[in-house]
Symmetry: C2
Subunit: 492 residues, 2 copies
């Protein structure tokens, strides 16, 4: 037995468990119990190896395993740090379902929320229940770099934390947003066209307030983002449901003249395909002809894993009839409550008046730090890193589903996004599966739950919406094990 003064644990060389796994288990346990503080630097591999009397490669193996699991982050030249807290499931413990059920019970509200990350998925309490959709893995977030950026502003310009709440938001952030969408989404806009909002949902609500009046019809995708329907009816607007075919949403039929169409052309939510160029053109022609507006909800476009990014419709349209809604929630968690709206130039004056009537709700405080985070490149370093990790998690999930769940259904690989849809072909009902899965602490959403108007689709959509970004391979494997058990039970 070797005892280390640092973690105060012993290695049992006689045990069946490999030494690196014993080290992992000890660190996981201390992370979960809070004995090891978040952000705490772990001993350098060489020092720790000497202390424990093991080879340095054993320590490296253990640390790298914990990086893969999301417990540790490694920074070139500065070693390893704990980046996940006690919120993380003790993956090596033998009774995951009991622990999960307890966690589920303690947070009753999370099950009732509509996903897509707009209403949930913050740094808090995630990482424990696959397969929540639309939420980033905040264990991977570069808290230290963010804190450095904020601390620099505290030193150099504390007043900057109080600017940006008025009107369209911080000029520095709006400039950074313009740079970002120019490079990543092919949209050319001036800061005067950008409004910083309290998240994407706030931007969508602002569009509804500014562009539609009681009794107007608003087109939205079916299936789609469910809270939209709610916002629309709550304002006395009339939802007009658009079917979705293999080219994306279908144009409004003659029965309604929508003032607005809210679309997800880059990556249909929740099905996942991109709208075809021909269909985009049809929508733009429709909008021009009927003097309607298209709201492009580009909720997770940064996450494309193969091929070239599909340019935004707003870029294609040169912002004539298209308003573009972007979000930082998928990269930053939605805790900061920051999103943005990019307007066609002729609408800026109209929105200046609207924003006065509906006071802006984005806090000033994160705006300057975010602008600097983007400008310094930290934002993109993080984005590239998580994209690589999410791509691996996605590949792993798709492989596992194909190998182990082929008898129940299939996935279509859209090479993008933060969730996959597993279409059921076995006669089982998605709602029943999700309800049973939630009893085991899993967070799986039924595809049928995203149908805005069930009578129009007649049972066409039956599947499971599985988010993968927030979970390590170990956690995904564990979740799939539980999901498999649910499927077997129901079939039996």
């Amino acid at each position: 037995m070797t005892q280390t003064p640092w973690l105060g644990f012993s290695i049992d060389r006689a045990a069946d468990t490999p030494v690196f796994e014993q080290i992992c288990a000890a660190i996981r346990l201390r992370a979960a119990s809070g004995q090891l503080a978040l952000g705490r630097k772990l001993p350098p591999t060489r020092v720790f190896a000497t202390e424990l009397g093991v080879s340095r490669s054993t320590i490296v193996t253990a640390y790298e395993q914990l990086v893969a699991e999301g417990y540790l982050s490694s920074q070139q030249g500065s070693g390893y740090r704990l980046c996940a807290s006690g919120e993380v499931e003790l993956t090596s413990q033998p009774t995951p379902q009991r622990t999960k059920a307890r966690k589920g019970a303690a947070e009753p509200t999370t099950q009732t929320r509509q996903s897509r990350g707009a209403a949930k998925g913050t740094a808090e309490g995630q990482g424990v229940t696959p397969f929540r959709a639309g939420t980033p893995d905040m264990r991977l977030f570069p808290y230290r770099q963010w804190a450095k950026t904020v601390a620099r502003i505290c030193r150099s310009d504390p007043q900057a934390m109080f600017t940006g709440a008025r009107g369209f938001g911080s000029l520095a952030l709006r400039q950074s947003i313009c740079d970002h969408v120019a490079e990543w989404r092919g949209i050319s806009a001036e800061p005067a066209q950008v409004i910083v909002t309290a998240g994407a949902t706030d931007a969508l609500e602002l569009c509804l307030h500014a562009l539609a009046q009681r009794g107007d019809s608003v087109a939205l995708e079916n299936p789609g983002y469910k809270p939209l329907q709610h916002f629309i009816t709550a304002q006395g607007l009339i939802p007009h449901h658009l079917q979705v075919d293999e080219n994306g949403a279908v144009l409004p039929d003659g029965s309604a003249s929508p003032r607005l169409a809210i679309l997800t052309p880059s990556h249909q939510f929740p099905l996942g395909g991109a709208m075809s160029p021909a269909r985009r053109m049809e929508f733009l022609r429709w909008a021009t002809k009927s003097e309607a507006w298209i709201i492009e909800d580009d909720y997770d476009s940064e996450f494309r894993y193969a091929g070239r990014p599909i340019p935004a419709m707003a870029g294609f349209d040169h912002l004539q009839r298209t308003l573009y809604v972007g979000s930082f929630s998928k990269i930053f968690s939605n805790a900061l409550r920051l999103g943005y709206l990019i307007l066609p130039e002729p609408l800026t004056e109209h929105f200046t008046v609207s924003i006065c009537r509906f006071a802006p709700r984005a806090s000033s405080m994160p705006q300057q730090p975010l602008a600097e985070f983007i400008q310094s490149g930290e934002f993109y370093r993080h984005l590239r890193r998580v994209r690589r990790i999410y791509a691996e998690r996605r590949r792993f999930l798709l492989e596992q589903l194909a190998q182990e769940f082929g008898a129940y259904g299939y996935c279509v690989d859209h090479q993008a996004g933060m969730q996959v849809v597993f279409h059921l072909t076995c006669g089982l009902q998605d709602a029943e599966i999700c309800s049973r899965a939630s009893e085991l602490g899993l967070s799986v959403e039924a595809l049928s739950g995203f149908v805005q108007s069930p009578d129009l689709t007649d049972g066409l959509y039956n599947g499971l919406v599985l988010g993968f970004c927030g979970y390590s391979e170990v956690e995904l494997r564990q979740g799939l094990g539980l999901l498999g058990r649910v499927l077997e039970q129901i079939r039996a």
Copy 2:
């Protein structure tokens, strides 16, 4: 002539201008041009006096004058610092009206906003146009202490900046809010009853969403906070206007059965009186009997300048039928977008569901710093300081109005709040005065503009709503000079 290496300016002892005024002018000029950085510490009085070859009391006089004008802040034991930037008008310049007109033109939107601080009045660009109402003087804000609090969190617990966005908000902040309202407002509540919102308006909207359904009637004060009427009708609710008499809002008559009554019992907005204890009891009896809810909008209750604070209605009611809406905007500017809602215990479950449907919009980032700012006492140090300064500014404004404007009207002294109402008795119309005043760059609001339903009040309300908190005595005097000119012109 004496030249100082520090400011690089000369004193002209032969000039008519007193020496202390020359020093003031030099500092104002350098503050406005940006040569003197914000937060920059000024030389100690003794050192500066020696450098300039003047008596120390001359320096003290100059510094204190600039403190009164809002340029400098003084901290016991740590000297004087520059706390206002180039945004501040050069009050010693001879052409204020021209400068002001230009500023007014550069910010066309500010004139269209409804005041009370909810939709305007941030750190940016204020301090130049008296008499905007409801906005604190952010030149007095202890940016350094705030930045220290934030920087400490950056060092010790960067993840805390990402917690609090889910559900009801940061637990630490909700605990601080409970402590605050227990001590200051006589309300006894648990953190489980507190929701952190993106400002008071967000809290009011949340109440409307959660407690009223399309077609329901909602009682609101007339005159009152104008955007409320807009939020109510935008949601398909029916406003029911309550008259205001000398005891506060009058109970709803038999013609409507409101589900909610939104009241400002501590300090009627915009008139300024407190609701009498008897009227409060009548409202509580009414709410109990008709199973309605009272929303107590306690928008500026921290600013009471004499006598004992009037306890909140929610404290009196023990939170049975009363929901309490509080705000940090009046102390902190509304830039952080933080307010709160305190619920009767039986409503907490209902609001848990509502908050899921209408995603919370308060950013996580300012929540932990604010909690620590309150707990450390910095919040109260600042509050006491600005209350003292606002009390002086208020006294000055009331004196000036009585001395110089007695021929036009009168004020009723309510010893509270952030604005006074100057009731016109001279036959002039408030709207015309405000329109002319705005041409001179003044921001004065017409009392008649706060009337929600003009047919019910029949010209009863004719006056000027004059905010005083954001302006030094010099600025108020300047504003009054311009206002006097407007009144003379119209009467002529």
